[in-house]
Symmetry: C2
Amino acid sequence: MTKKCINVGLIGCGVVGTGVANNLVNGIAQKRHLPCELRLKRIADLYPHKERPYKIPLDLFTTNADEILDDPEIDIVVELIGGCDFALKVITKALEKKKHVVTANKALLAEYGREMAALAKANGVDLYYEAAVCGGIPVIKAIREGLTADSINNFRGIVNGTCNYILTGMCKYNMLFEDAVKAAQMNGYAEADPTFDLIGKDSLHKLVLLIANCFGQWIKPEDIYTEGIMDLDQTDIRCAEELGYVIKLIAQAKKRDGKLECMVAPTLISKKSLLAGVSDAYNAVEINGSPIGRTVYYGEGAGMNATSSAVTADIIDIARNIYYGCEGRLPVFALEGEKCEKVPTDEMEMRYYLRWKTDDKPGVISALSQELTEREIGISSVILHEFAKAQPYSIVTFMTRETTEKKMRDAVQALNKLDCIQSRTVMLRVESGF
Amino acid sequence: MTKKCINVGLIGCGVVGTGVANNLVNGIAQKRHLPCELRLKRIADLYPHKERPYKIPLDLFTTNADEILDDPEIDIVVELIGGCDFALKVITKALEKKKHVVTANKALLAEYGREMAALAKANGVDLYYEAAVCGGIPVIKAIREGLTADSINNFRGIVNGTCNYILTGMCKYNMLFEDAVKAAQMNGYAEADPTFDLIGKDSLHKLVLLIANCFGQWIKPEDIYTEGIMDLDQTDIRCAEELGYVIKLIAQAKKRDGKLECMVAPTLISKKSLLAGVSDAYNAVEINGSPIGRTVYYGEGAGMNATSSAVTADIIDIARNIYYGCEGRLPVFALEGEKCEKVPTDEMEMRYYLRWKTDDKPGVISALSQELTEREIGISSVILHEFAKAQPYSIVTFMTRETTEKKMRDAVQALNKLDCIQSRTVMLRVESGF
């Protein structure tokens, strides 16, 4: 016998929560998709009276999450509090009470996803989290259900809207980093303190979840080299452009010889690639698998609307499972893949972009190139422009052939000691192998 | 009690069928995704001994489809025969025998999808067809399951790999149409007789299925205006480029004032849009919905590998339904939307590209523009280049503002009567409202 009405409890009614509440209260979508009723029964939030962009019935609100967690009538708990402390308590209790959970909490899942998945399985309930990776883009669904015939070789993604908005400003509108950050804040694409996004942490959490789904591996966030965009200079945006590249903050993972290479870092992407065309706050993930080949998924990476769409779709998906009595139909994290160990960052192989401010005098190019040659690092392109008259400095750019991170870092240390350079070496990764 | 082993019968072992058989025989994927065994029990094909790119055990083959359709052990029938006659019999019988069906047959579904869906529902079995639209791209899944919280406003897609490969050849490599077609055939991207693709029929069938899923409406193929790429001239590729556009064969549908506008036609797409970057045999669909905003799905549109990936993923999806006893969990065609009637083609509103070969003499521009002005069709841009010396002709290009198809066609009739033009008017649609 199937349920006539499925009850949802929402914990955390901030930006995204308000969008979800609005979707459920209006209930247009689910009417089209569900044979049963889907009802938002209760909302737990500390500030019921806060000004919200949509009108949510006040009588739905409580300030006590336990009113939802202890309510036997509630089937699905939606956790949109964020953070790892209280949210962890909420999700744990919900699962233990055999309630299905929908969350957008990437930080929590990157840290405790494995345990939460086990807990969900043990209690025979679903834990969905489409909104945790790339806001509205149904990329988790694509991987868990659409690419089930494929073994995934690699993926790379622009998964942080804030950074992409800032990089777009620097690249398209020649803004300085600080100004691009201000613009992002003014337009609601960056928090008052955007550090968490800018240092790549948010991208890292999404990378961990994508790896878990694409490769069935759990890599600890702290084991993945992560570099943000805070040191990016307008000069490098321009030099990259001259070389035919744009700089994007890329989260990527790649299988090579049965081992896993992964990293979050600002990366030079060929202007010709689709990802290069992903601007503003949009996200995109490129996934290469066999037999399917290359696929790309694109959409808004954050914001009330896109994210609330993903959360609501998860709710509807789970409601379908409840209605048809197939809870646990999908593993929480897809593809229990054969163990493949992570390549130490030092041993990762990539091409590199190097840029210096140097003295404007003879011998500079040979000095720079010699340091690389001695370490068997090949140079694939060089840019040095002639000035009309003598300048206080020159800008020199190298692109290297594939080498290891270790060799490159050692080379940079040595390069930084050269008398002829006036600034520390700028070292960026260049896309390869996609 | 759940099944230990789910049996699949494959009917039609051509290019895609061979890929699917190979996926199932190797069975790497499903092992990672299914708690039960998935077994390819039988293959029906008229040519068991035909040379195939993968080794398929000969003892699986029969030349008699009924051996599969009448086998009570077989749970899922995969129809990869193509065409509408025998395939229709096969699917009908399979569904009546309460077997789940996976097909890639867009022509059949565009024609009989509604009836087949009803038949599947009546028999409590699933009918999946991800591979029927955009080969490997899990776009049907995205619409049916990922965007369930959204009301879709419009979509547009490059859904035919053959045409896109040819247009890429004309646009990127300056090939003439005939040469681009030959190149496509040489590289296996076009059939010996590619007419069906070139006249837009294949795109039309996919459009019908996308409309059914996005809007819950069944529009008859014959009711949708469909124009192919057979008359495309290199000149127009170049003129479009000068205007900042590329020409793609676009299948699109749009809700406007509660009514539905849809069409398949070569269309000028801004170079800046993501779809403009979709080259070669790749496909992509852009879907705009509320609240999710704009999403794009990209991948290989055809071929053994991509298509076999989608078919196999459907098989795994259905196997999950069987194992968990939730057959019919998804409606065959999503979103039973409120009826919205189709706008007659004549009343559709668009911008247009017009191009002529005209006499090289005074009065031409005024004569051409007057015909438009009289019909209140605004002109947004004009290109006429000066030649060093007098030429036997001039090339004149107009871009119009939004007007109705009817007004535009009438104008073209009148324009074709002008003495000053040496060729019939070339009229193409220009993207708008996306």
